[in-house]
């Protein structure tokens, strides 16, 4: 695996962070807090979002809390503002005013714009959402560069300004929301979850980001509570949280397996995105980090993929974070499920699959390096941790470093991933809240 590495040591304007856990509570005084219950800021409080784009289809979603009886979506088939002559489709909001619609029959690799309109009984438009954009995925045989954005760990009590520049970008083909997007810890009822999601998405940064391009949403532990696993979670709480996740994020549902969140999204022959579900199928008693079905799907999909790049969207890192400092967190990682971890890493190694990149989050730090120590399965596979987008940085006094890891940082960020199939290179650019690229590195996995 070749890499070009360029690190810019930024004297970034980060908030004060303490260096050990005992100090962090004293030092990190920048934590804000919301006051009072959530109140929607507008008739379309969480803006609009497009998600899970395929070459010909996309899922659009919004929430409408106004008084108009009817909702519709207007779509511009060119990357120009929606006009009155553009096609309009009726949308039926569900409970809470949440509306999702799947558009089909679109042109691959094309940019579209859309708005949701609230229509009164006379047919007049009384309220209009902000305008959203998305690009349909590339046609199956396309082999052109693709640029994604990614973020995780955005707690609404923290400063979201690191997301601002991502929402202003017009060239991101899609944006990966890699879990812990909403911190709903403690929520029990649907209304509780909606409140947490409202605080998170009813913000200028998320409204702009989700309107700028399509998203690829994943969930992780804090969408319910810290470090949950399905086998020990109250099933009612799980169903409630999953429903809240689905009504707030445009996630494609497979009619054959409506509860399943793991899925594959392809952008031509440039990249296959393996969108994993690292939470819903955990079963510690049987050593399952994911279900055997998901594991088989992942291994088969990655090792037989014809795409140049295979991005494994993983939420919780698979890397060998096995040092004493990470000991207390070991139970939540792939490392705690050694059989499945070895199985997937060995299978990819054995197949000689190139272009594999694990994209992970959760740790409140960004880093890039090899998954495993030399001589162990996965020692040539690349893993990049992204985030945190809006969270306290990891408070450990030592971050991952050489020789396994090339770089690490705890600065709040969003990550740009540029995939160039011609050179088989992937470039990571980490943007801070001032849109300063504080780290850039290119690898040829």
């Amino acid at each position: 695996m070749k890499r070009r590495h360029h690190s810019r040591r930024a004297r970034a304007a980060v908030s004060r962070r303490a260096f050990i856990a005992g100090l962090s509570a004293l030092g990190a005084g920048a934590v804000g807090c919301t006051s009072g219950p959530y109140r929607p800021s507008s008739p379309f409080p969480i803006g609009v979002a497009a998600g899970d784009a395929t070459p010909t289809s996309v899922v659009l979603s919004t929430r409408y809390v106004g008084q108009a009886p009817t909702l519709r979506v207007a779509v511009s088939t060119t990357d120009t503002p929606v006009r009155s002559t553009d096609v309009r489709l009726p949308v039926t909001p569900g409970d809470g005013g949440f509306a999702q619609v799947t558009l089909d029959g679109m042109t691959p690799g094309s940019w579209y714009r859309y708005v949701f309109e609230a229509v009164d009984a006379t047919g007049a438009v009384v309220e209009t959402s902000t305008e959203g954009r998305f690009r349909t995925a590339l046609p199956p045989d396309a082999l052109v560069p693709v640029t994604f954005g990614a973020v995780c760990c955005t707690k609404y009590t923290h400063d979201f300004s690191a997301l601002t520049s991502a929402g202003a970008r017009r060239d991101l083909d899609a944006f990966i929301l890699l879990g812990d997007i909403c911190y709903a810890d403690g929520a029990k009822s649907r209304e509780d979850f909606r409140e947490h999601w409202g605080f998170t998405l009813d913000t200028p940064q998320y409204r702009a980001l989700r309107a700028a391009t399509s998203v690829v949403p994943l969930w992780d532990d804090h969408e319910i509570r810290n470090n949950w696993e399905r086998a020990t979670l109250d099933p009612v709480l799980f169903d409630t949280a999953l429903a809240a996740f689905r009504e707030h994020q445009p996630v494609r549902s497979d009619p054959a397996s409506p509860g399943r969140l793991w899925r594959k999204l392809s952008w031509g022959r440039t990249v296959d995105l393996f969108v994993m579900d690292s939470r819903s199928e955990r079963d510690r008693e049987h050593g399952h980090y994911v279900s055997p079905e998901q594991l088989a799907w992942l291994i088969d999909g990655v090792t037989t993929s014809k795409a140049v790049f295979k991005l494994l969207l993983n939420t919780v890192p698979i890397g060998a974070f096995d040092t004493p400092f990470f000991g207390p967190f070991g139970d939540d990682m792939w490392l705690a499920y050694p059989d499945q971890r070895r199985e997937v890493l060995s299978a990819i190694d054995k197949a000689g699959t190139r272009g594999v990149v694990w994209i992970s989050g959760d740790f409140h730090l960004a880093c890039i390096g090899r998954v495993s120590h030399p001589g162990q399965p996965g020692d040539r596979q690349l893993e990049a941790l992204i985030g945190p987008g809006a969270q306290a940085s990891n408070s450990l006094p030592s971050y991952p470093g050489a020789p396994q890891w090339d770089w690490a940082s705890g600065i709040n960020n969003w990550t740009e991933l540029r995939l160039d199939p011609a050179t088989r290179s992937i470039t990571f650019r980490y943007h801070d809240k001032n849109d300063h690229v504080f780290h850039e590195a290119t690898y040829t996995p």
Partner: protein, 222 residues
């Protein structure tokens, strides 16, 4: 956690501390006193000299009123916690600056911060805590603050030494960690946990020692 640990240990320490754990302190006072000094706090009894009744009374510690002693204890504990907070804040400055410059923590910077914080706490606690026992002085008697400080050091010097060793352990671990990720973490972990335990023990024993030294040196006013 720190405050809880200190208070819990102090509740045991202050209640069970022997009246004179520091045999060296009165002797220091005796050595300083002139032979013909009046019989007061530092009344002398030369070796071989038969004690008179007055001298015997002068050499017996005069108990402080319970309310005043309790006040002094309370302020001493608060002062210890306050110095610890100050030391921790000071200790966080160095690693915070390194963090902001590098975007990630530097183990050696955190070791420097730990050293600074521990040193500050030793100095501040020994300087401040014995002084607050002046609050227990009144018309009926007064204690010797120097004796209280000497007693505090006598009680707390071993945890201070242990703290020095653990901070050094952390520093060595940090240096190793900087060269090869993961290799120094065990030493750093042992160092920080040991430092924390030493720190808490030092704080508790400083208060207990200062209290014991004060009570032992307290004499009735002439």
């Amino acid at each position: 956690m720190y405050a809880v640990a200190v208070l819990a240990l102090l509740s045991v320490g202050l209640a069970s501390a022997p009246p004179s754990p520091v045999s060296g302190v009165p002797r220091l006072a005796l050595a300083r006193a002139p032979a013909d000094a009046p019989l007061a706090d530092e009344a002398t009894l030369r070796p071989g000299e038969a004690p008179t009744a007055a001298r015997a009374r002068a050499d017996t510690p005069a108990p402080a009123p319970k309310a005043r002693l309790a006040l002094a204890h309370g302020v001493a504990v608060s002062a210890t916690v306050a110095t610890a907070v100050l030391a921790v804040l000071a200790a966080s400055v160095v690693p915070s600056q390194c963090y902001e410059a590098e975007g990630q923590p530097d183990p050696v910077c955190s070791a420097q911060g730990l050293m600074l914080g521990a040193a500050l706490q030793v100095g501040l606690a020994l300087a401040v805590v014995p002084e607050v026992y002046r609050l227990a002085n009144d018309a009926s008697g007064a204690g010797d603050i120097r004796a209280a400080r000497a007693s505090a050091w006598k009680w707390a010097r071993w945890p201070a030494l242990a703290g020095l060793i653990f901070v050094s352990t952390y520093l060595v671990g940090a240096a190793v960690e900087k060269q090869h990720y993961g290799d120094g973490q065990a030493a750093m972990l042992a160092g920080v946990l040991g430092t924390l335990a030493s720190w808490i023990t030092f704080d508790v024993l400083t208060v207990v020692g200062a209290s014991a030294g004060y009570k032992e040196s307290r004499r009735a006013q002439p």
